[in-house]
Amino acid sequence: MFTKRDFIKKIYQKNNSVFTIEWIDGKTADYRLSDLQKNCNCARCVDEKTGERLIDPSLISDQLTARRIFSVGRYALKVEFSSGCSRGIYPYSWLKALASQ
């Protein structure tokens, strides 16, 4: 009757700059914090009209850390990074797609 959605079963810190998500469908994926910030979709990181990225991704350290990660409604998470932009909302559907790349 109801379709299965992208849901997180477990989320944990793997090391200083990577976290792991176990999805409800059994898939597990690692996410580097810097990869999320490099793809931040907030209005300050992406030009609204052209879609051009306004922050140079090479300036974001691969060792970027965080202070906390928390859910946004039922569909996304947010990261409070230790530096740089923390405004982005990362939908589960996007995280799932990133994992299968």
């Binding site: 109801f2 849901f7 997180i8 079963k9 200083n16 965080a66 202070r67 906390r68 409604g73 530096s83």
Partner: protein, 290 residues
């Protein structure tokens, strides 16, 4: 490395509420508020503790249908919070209780958003089995604010049968899908009219639109509510359809829908199992990289 995943502990929590249900449609005038109030009354009759929040800042209507039996008061334990108004055993909150006069609420979206946050989190809801949120029409700012700040258990979609309503309601369905909020079912309001003397059934707004919409998205069809003068008369007078021991056919149709709601929530809970819906992972870092 140990990890600390916890339930979010922010002021923005509705911890003591078991289910938060949005009643929504993309369109205005299809009967969201009437369904919200009657669902709340039907759930109350089943013995649940129920609250209702009118999230329509610009066109609030709750105080008409559920006239307050209490006056505005601060919470004794937490003076920063307001007590919800009580009506027919239901905890209710709406701008219409606080601002009962007829002045239009002409405010921009950021103000409306902060008002919604206050209605949700600065009200002492206490322990509830169900909080019904009567959503405003459309798929805009208020809807996003609600869905980003609380974990909705599910949504009930209301439509009327005609094509022009269905096209707006489709957008609401898609909005909930995008926000990962499960839709518990579709209710068709104003589905038919039974001529009181001849008992002939008429379909002034077309036939079967709600069921068709449910089929299109693979959603459960929760039932239909006929066009009946009793519904609007009772709503205008602030009388409950559920008063008295013998329920009218109209009240029974709301009761059936509330039964589906309860069943669908149980089914959904068993499907979603032990997934994390509301979490906060505190990062343990030996050295923060800036």
């Amino acid at each position: 490395m140990s990890n600390w995943v916890q339930e979010k502990d922010t002021p923005f929590q509705l911890k003591n509420i078991r289910y938060v249900i949005a009643v929504a449609a993309g369109k205005g005038g299809v009967g969201k508020s009437t369904l919200s109030v009657n669902l709340a009354l039907a759930l109350k009759r089943k013995g649940y503790s129920v609250g209702i929040l009118d999230a329509d800042i610009y066109g609030p209507s709750l105080s008409k249908m559920l006239p307050a039996e209490t006056s505005i008061a601060n919470s004794p334990e937490n003076p920063d919070k307001l007590m919800p108004f009580i009506s027919k055993g239901i905890k209710a909150m709406s701008i219409s209780y606080i601002r009962p006069h007829q002045d239009p609420m002409a405010v921009r979206a950021p103000i409306a958003n902060s008002m919604i946050m206050q209605l949700l989190f600065q009200v002492e809801w206490g322990e509830l089995d169900y909080l019904i949120i009567d959503m405003p029409p459309g798929t805009g700012d208020i809807q996003l604010t609600i869905m980003q700040n609380i974990t909705l258990s599910g949504a009930v979609i209301v439509t009327t049968p005609q094509a022009v309503a269905l096209s707006d309601v489709r957008k609401a369905v898609q909005m909930f899908n995008q926000m990962n909020v499960p839709i518990l079912g579709v209710v068709e309001n104003m589905s038919h009219f039974i001529e009181p003397i001849s008992k002939i059934i008429y379909y002034p707004l077309g036939k079967g639109g709600g069921e068709k919409l449910a089929g299109e998205f693979g959603l459960p069809f929760m039932g239909e509510i006929p066009l009946d003068a009793q519904i609007s008369e009772y709503a205008d007078e602030g009388i409950s359809l559920f008063e008295g021991s013998c329920l009218s056919p109209i009240a029974l149709s709301y009761e059936n829908i509330s039964g589906h709601l309860v069943d669908h929530l149980y089914a959904l809970e068993s499907l979603e199992g032990d997934c994390l819906k509301d979490f906060e992972l505190i990062w343990e870092s030996k050295e923060y990289v800036y």
